[in-house]
């Protein structure tokens, strides 16, 4: 058992050292948590706060995010990288509006009460700051296509994770249901579905994500225990 335990600890230490040395190579994964678009970067806050009163609404927002934001950023990156910044802004909005129409029709087939679920917060994504900031970032930094796709993928996953978590938690707490199915006969309060509580939950999650990020960076940048003690001994000598 002792051997197994030391083996596990050694493995964790190796992973930690590898992460510390190769941090920049896997930076694109950060969108999931360490640079989460909602919790850390503060982008797309309005839909995440106001429109996540149920899991269904969260799923609709997630589909909207992938379709509108990811596609819009990719199109702008490839087709408008040479255009001026002002033109790119206009292009972002126009492409978003064009992309929104087929998505709205498709979503309406699956979710007939689309406007009741998410209200204005789905169409408002057309002009969301996340599109502009990401497209400008990728054009300016000249990332490789692979890195851009990976970053967009993990940022989308980060957004989906947060909104679905918020949607599910708020639905259970407000109505005692999840995806419309009763799971808790005594919900806390229907006020949980109001935007005020959404702000509250996002704030708590953002604080937790920030604390986790700080701890993670501190952990991977820590000196190995043996080396540190050796250095101290040398210093004392």
């Amino acid at each position: 058992v002792k051997k197994l335990f030391s083996l596990i600890l050694g493995g964790i230490e190796r992973v930690r050292l590898w992460l510390g040395a190769n941090r920049d190579k896997i930076e694109y994964v950060d969108g999931l948590l360490f640079s989460n678009p909602v919790l850390i970067e503060g982008l797309a806050l309005a839909p995440a706060v106001a429109a996540t009163q149920s899991l269904k609404a969260a799923v609709i927002l997630s589909v909207g995010f992938i379709w509108l934001v990811v596609l819009d950023v990719v199109i702008v990156r490839f087709a408008f990288s040479k255009a001026s910044e002002e033109m790119r802004t206009i292009a972002c909005a126009l492409i978003g509006a064009v992309l929104f129409v087929p998505m709205a029709y498709t979503l309406k087939l699956v979710f007939p009460f689309l406007s009741t679920e998410v209200g204005l917060y789905l169409p408002i994504m057309i002009v969301d700051s996340v599109i502009l900031s990401k497209s400008e970032l990728y054009i300016e930094l000249q990332h490789s296509n692979f890195r851009m796709f990976m970053e967009l993928l993990f940022h989308s996953l980060g957004f989906i994770l947060v909104v679905c978590l918020l949607g599910a938690a708020r639905e259970v707490l407000a109505y005692g249901t999840i995806w419309g199915i009763t799971v808790n006969a005594a919900p806390i309060s229907s006020t949980v579905a109001l935007p005020f509580f959404g702000f509250f939950m996002v704030a708590v999650l953002a604080a937790a994500a920030k604390a986790l990020t700080n701890h993670f960076y501190h952990w991977i940048n820590k000196r190995p225990a043996q080396a540190a003690s050796r250095q101290e001994v040398n210093g004392n000598e």
Binding site: S189, T191, V192, F196, F197, F200, A203, A207
Partner: protein, 323 residues
Amino acid sequence: MDRTSPLYTQRFYPCKEALIAMLPLLLMSYVQNGLRPVAVVLFSVLCGYLMDMLVHRLRRIRFEKCDLSAAVTGAVFAMLMPATVPYWVLFVGNLVAIVFVKHAFGGYGNNIFNPAAVGAAFCMFMWPHRVFQYPASMDKLPLLMSDEYQYVSSPLATLKAGGVPFVEFADLLTGDFVGPIGASGIIIMASVAVYLIVRKAVDWRLPASFLATVALVAFFLPRVHTTRLESMIYELFCSATVFGALFIVGEPVTAPKRPQSKYIYGVLAGLATMGFRYFGAFEMGIVFSSIAVSAISSFIDRRVSNYEGRYTLSKQVFGGDEQ
């Protein structure tokens, strides 16, 4: 501030005074509803104090035993609640007040909003049916409430519904009316106000300007069909308005620091309170108005400071010319 300095513990002087000032209110609530309101306030005080101690430990900051600020937060929060409020509501309210309002901004002396007001506002939003239902006056309550208990609405709720509350002036004097634990009679509230002002725990400018504004608005713009004077009396004394003026608006941390700013702050808080009462969803406006106005407290201070600086400069320039 240096923790070894003897001045350090003096920071908590207003907290001690506030707790002492709340004792007569607690005694009155005991006379009215028995041991239950006393248990509610003590539980809330204990919750606040222990939670503060825990958060200090989590933040790796030394906790001073003489730091009674969290106990005051717990007491003020409980005083804004009815005597029938469940204990778990008190726990949640204190959690919000201490963790999310006090320590999230850096602890005592750094908070932008009044922690007790935010805790109360949170509970009012979340469980209005628990917070706005009161026991009848002189009804002795058990320590653990049952679901069958018959609640009554407060005079402020009657005013909100457009009716005239049936409360006699003598009852307003003695505090024999339905309301939160902190809503007491004029005599008791006046003695509490005098104590706090004489002991310099509260600057008189804040409650005075606040109460004057509430009285003027109620007098000139009554919301029910009654005489102007009656409207003023009901708005001032039928709820925890005076309590809020002393313990929420008059709180030294969130209020502005300059004397002129305090007048402006009190007037704005009074106007906002009446605005929330007249047009808001809930009968109690003071917690929401204090949150709204304390957000611009330092802005008021800055504007007044700029104005004073300009005024002094022009006085020096023109005064010098005349001489």
